[in-house]
Amino acid sequence: MCTTCGCGQTDSILISKPPKVQTENLIIDNHHTHNHDHNHEHHHHDQQHGHAHDHHHHEKTVLEIEQDILNTNNLLAERNRGYFEAKNIFALNLVSSPGSGKTSLLERTLKDLSGEINFSVIEGDQQTFNDANRIQAIQIPVVQINTGQACHLDSDMVNKAVKELNPQENSILFIENVGNLVCPALFDLGENKRVVIISTTEGDDKPIKYPDMFLHSNICIINKIDLLPYVQFDVEKAKEYALRVNHHLEFFELSVTSGEGMDKWYEWLKKQIKK
């Protein structure tokens, strides 16, 4: 059983550069730890310490733990964050539903700014190298994480992907999360800022339908504004809903296709790397 989504698959998570430059695949198996026979492990543990005799552990012992369940993820996320800080890498975690234009936004941003800023990209998808291939086509260093059946990236996957990617100092790292507006919300990857993207072809009430993602984001990009004349999407209403959930959100309204509003986004990116 896959331990992340509960399906019957046992696919491992695959982290690799796109096929053309593929070196070595890293397999992360930590999501399948339930398959281990814990009793067996414990038995070994006893033997190693010469305690194979009766333990007298029949009495109940209360273990006070007080530990955050996401502690392991959060600690590793902080390690990632420390690495980014030391190398002056500004890391952005891009989250959205599938189809809101994350990869297109990346492509255009990379094409327009790669002369001024050094970039690298981690792509997260359940399957395929498609997104990594699109990034590689514009000569930007990229690593693809295929999560198999998993519905989100976690800090361990990003930690391993960063080692594979080895991003240069004074650069911007984009981490494109799995297209999913629910699950990635809980998992800190060590990013500096989280960017949630919605597009005008979605409902303008997305922020209150999926509040967790908006609550945990810093930036909200409203994409596809060139389509506003043809869709029933009220930008002001969407922003108002998003601010109800998280009044710290900063907005960018833009169209990747027409280029409208991209300049403000670029200005903001340039400011971050100078800090």
């Binding site: 059983m1 896959c2 331990t3 992340t4 989504c5 509960g6 999501h31 730890t33 339930h34 026979d37 814990h38 009793n39 492990e41 414990h42 543990h45 305690h51 333990h55 552990h57 029949h58 009495e59 109940k60 012992t61 209360v62 273990l63 006070e64 733990i65 007080e66 530990q67 955050d68 369940i69 996401l70 502690n71 392991t72 993820n73 998993a150 519905c151 989100h152 976690d154 629910v182 699950c183 919300a185 809980l186 998992f187 209150i208 509040p211 967790d212 609550l215 809903y241 601010l243 109800r244 959930v245 998280n246 009044h247």
Partner: protein
């Protein structure tokens, strides 16, 4: 369905703590889970039953303290129980609020043998 990742995290914490104490298995596990922690309790139940099989938590009794979410109005300071992260302040109707409780996701204690 990230609840399964959460259950795997709980199993991991329990296994480490029980091994550290040189014990065998858990009889009870107590957790704090906030109503705004992002956990769907039904999904947690479903994931739990599948995931704990063969682990230190198999057959362990679960005690979940459900922590009622509370928000504080930034405008008027009123503290109130909230159902979502964007409930209006019932006193001044402002949406300008901060969640002060209800995001808990914590293993508190384990009774082990």
């Amino acid at each position: 369905m990230h609840e399964l990742s959460i259950v795997m995290g709980i199993i991991d914490i329990a296994r480490k703590e029980i091994e550290k104490a040189n014990l065998r298995k858990a009889e009870t596990i107590e957790m704090d889970i906030g109503t705004l922690s992002g956990i769907e309790f039904e999904a947690l139940d479903f994931a739990w039953n599948m995931a704990v099989t063969g682990t230190v938590l198999e057959n362990a009794e679960r005690k979940i303290n459900i922590i009622q979410a509370k928000a504080k109005c930034v405008s008027c300071g009123h503290i109130f129980n909230t159902k979502s992260v964007f409930d209006q302040c019932p006193k001044c109707n402002d949406f300008f609020t901060e969640i002060i409780a209800g995001k808990e996701l914590k293993v508190k204690a384990i009774t082990a043998i």
